[in-house]
Symmetry: C2
Subunit: 416 residues, 2 copies
């Protein structure tokens, strides 16, 4: 199937989109409450992962997380009141992506929550993402809301946000692309593995961190070094700012967003603007569980961290992060094969995001819906796994469904 | 060629040696002046890399570095006086290895120089190594001595040593093995690449570092984050403490040290104690140069960082650090092949130093002189390259000469 009457036109459009991706220069410029940072955000809005749905269609952990968000935000005294407000539309649910934001797992983003503000220095496009909740099993974005989760979110907003913002501003902004490029040579793929990038970030802010009052420096350092996942959120916000630059390029068949809710998977494509092309949830291709859990425990609660895959990271750079086989299952060879396969469905190779294992070849970047439709190969995605009972229980590699890519290719072909 | 009448005996001896390597638990416990830390050290001794030679046989950059060391130590006013004292034996030159120490490149270690003190918590064996001089081209260990090099060495001794020692002691010692294990999953092979381990070390000492007066914390942080090679020295000292544990195991054909001076390469073997078996210098197998330099500029000034290869690191774990192809030449495939080849000449596989690219197989560990002699395959070594004119000019992969391994195998066979 050809998308355009003239394939050369599509190639030009895709090259134009990819140039925007390649030249993007994401810089972390601030950390602000969502209400201040996100265009269009209101006090009574709860942003969530995935192509937006009516409130009634959110189920399981993502539904619980939305209710928790409403209570955390002080809009309702308890879950029952939150239900009422949501069903009456007094509190509305909307999609992160429409607010310049991406969500992790359930993706709950409410007005008072701190978001990382990443600006593409080339275009001014901004991407945002909330902060990592920490390594406890109980996290709002994994469908858990209780007093400990609530207190932790408050701690992030009241203690961590001002300190991190002060350090980021005092540093004059933190250029993220150099960190991302280096981290790819240090075993990160910048989605399921951010161990190196988290430490490279720490090194970058160290001078400003040491200018804080010592007690504050200790608090911030403890947060930043508590686990290996701090940098996932900067990587997500950076990816959002980069991917959004490609949006609206006429005739381009390149994907600008992938996201899923508890119910659906959806994509956006450069030549189709902000429209979501929806399909069924992804399949679990490989998985690995923390002790005591099995495949039967998995519940999909949403997720937009796959914006990293859209930019040639995550599963598209997994051959750089072979240690992940112990985290999300599979073998070194299968990870390398899966990574190579992604070259068959991408329109380009990222000149800065390189894969030493392939002789420094650029990572496959710019998922091309036409190539996906033609080959039947769909994007791989490295994801964390949530439990029906809430909390993270492991990690895995997902495969996107074919339908939305095929549909998008048809729509673009029809409109060309 | 069989080394022992009964190969099972050799196998048992090698297993015994390897158990000592595998169970070692190196901890950085202090940073002290060499005169205080190294058993047998005196004010008028200059320690250098390689099986020791008479003073008259040191040439080129290593000779210049020795003279610089004598002047730096205040034993002579200038190079001419240093020459005189050395030729008269008033100042003596000796090998680092005999003082529980390993040297980088020329390996100059004088009384006042700070050394990292690494103790194997299992056996009490200690290994030592001086501090990284920084990323300037002019470094004593690369054959350069001038007022800037002298001032930098003084800065390390007077400013950095006390601060680093305070932080290490306040931390109650820094266990190095967990850092090394993790770093291997983050793109380090812990010889030519220590980018991840240097940051993991920083994370480990962060709490103690923040307890320093802020001005001091800034100074130490600046030193630790100035480049990517801080951790090479802890890795070397740790490797020395681990390798020495294997020394003296009767009948074992496992190598406990490799080292070279400007003139010779030598090895020590567990079953032969502290005796050096000497041979010609290694060959350059791959190389890569900083702009403006070529293979003709290379001068070998010595080096004992190959103690890491003795422990299953460096070239023996290079498949974990494929980004090094851009630093020391070669391709991803040739690095993987060379790493696999090392399994043919080693007696074991390190249970803690693992290679995700080989499905978490343990790194080839315990170079077996009998296997080297039998196969003709000699150890690969990742090294930095020095220039005839002084300074680092690139990096490469060396191959050890066959002769000393063959000779050691003969000696062990004769003694069994």
């Amino acid at each position: 199937m050809t998308v355009s009457e003239n394939p050369a036109d599509t190639r030009c459009s895709n090259d134009r989109a990819l140039q925007r991706l390649y030249t993007a220069d994401p810089v972390l410029v601030d950390v602000r409450p969502a209400i201040e940072a996100l265009p269009g955000m209101t006090r009574d809005t709860v942003l969530v992962s995935g192509p937006p749905l009516p409130w009634s269609e959110y189920t399981g952990g993502q539904r619980r997380a939305i209710l928790g968000g409403v209570v955390h935000e002080g809009l309702a005294a308890d879950s029952d009141e939150a239900e009422l407000l949501l069903s009456r539309g007094v509190v509305r649910v909307d999609g992160c992506h429409d607010f310049g934001c991406v969500g992790s797992v359930a993706g709950i983003t409410t007005a008072s929550m701190p978001v990382l503000v990443v600006e593409d220095a080339e275009s001014g496009h901004r991407g945002h993402c909330t902060l990592f909740e920490g390594e406890t099993r109980g996290r709002l974005n994994y469908g858990v809301f209780d007093p400990a989760v609530d207190a932790n979110l408050r701690y992030l907003a009241e203690v961590i946000r001002p300190l991190l913002a002060a350090v980021v501003r005092a540093s004059g902004g933190i250029p993220l692309k150099p960190i991302m490029e280096r981290a790819l040579r240090q075993g990160d793929e910048l989605h399921s593995r951010t161990a190196a990038s988290s430490l490279l970030f720490l090194r970058q802010i160290a001078p400003a961190l040491l200018d804080l009052p010592p007690a504050d420096a200790r608090v911030l350092m403890a947060y930043l070094t508590a686990g290996d996942y701090f940098f996932l959120r900067p990587a997500m916000a950076a990816s959002k700012s980069m991917a959004d630059r490609m949006s609206g390029v006429r005739g381009s068949t390149v994907v600008t967003a992938m996201a899923f809710s508890c119910k659906e998977f959806g994509i956006r494509v450069a030549g189709l603007g902000n429209r979501w092309i929806r399909g069924p949830l992804p399949n679990v291709e490989t998985s690995h569980f923390f002790p005591g859990f099995t495949r039967d425990d998995i519940e999909v609660m949403g997720g937009e961290s796959v914006i990293t895959e859209v930019c040639g990271l995550g599963a598209f750079a997994q051959a750089n992060a072979l240690s992940l086989q112990a985290y999300h299952g599979g073998s070194a060879d299968s990870m390398i094969d899966r990574n190579l396969q992604m070259y068959e469905i991408t329109a380009g190779e990222h000149p800065s995001f390189t894969l030493p294992v392939f002789g420094y070849r650029g990572s496959p970047a710019g998922i091309d819906v036409a190539k996906v439709a033609e080959t039947g190969i769909t994007p791989a995605m490295n994801v964390a796994l949530a439990a029906k009972s809430g909390g993270q229980i492991g990690a895995g590699s997902f495969r996107a469904p074919l339908a939305p890519f095929a549909r998008a290719a048809e729509l673009l072909a029809a409109s060309s």
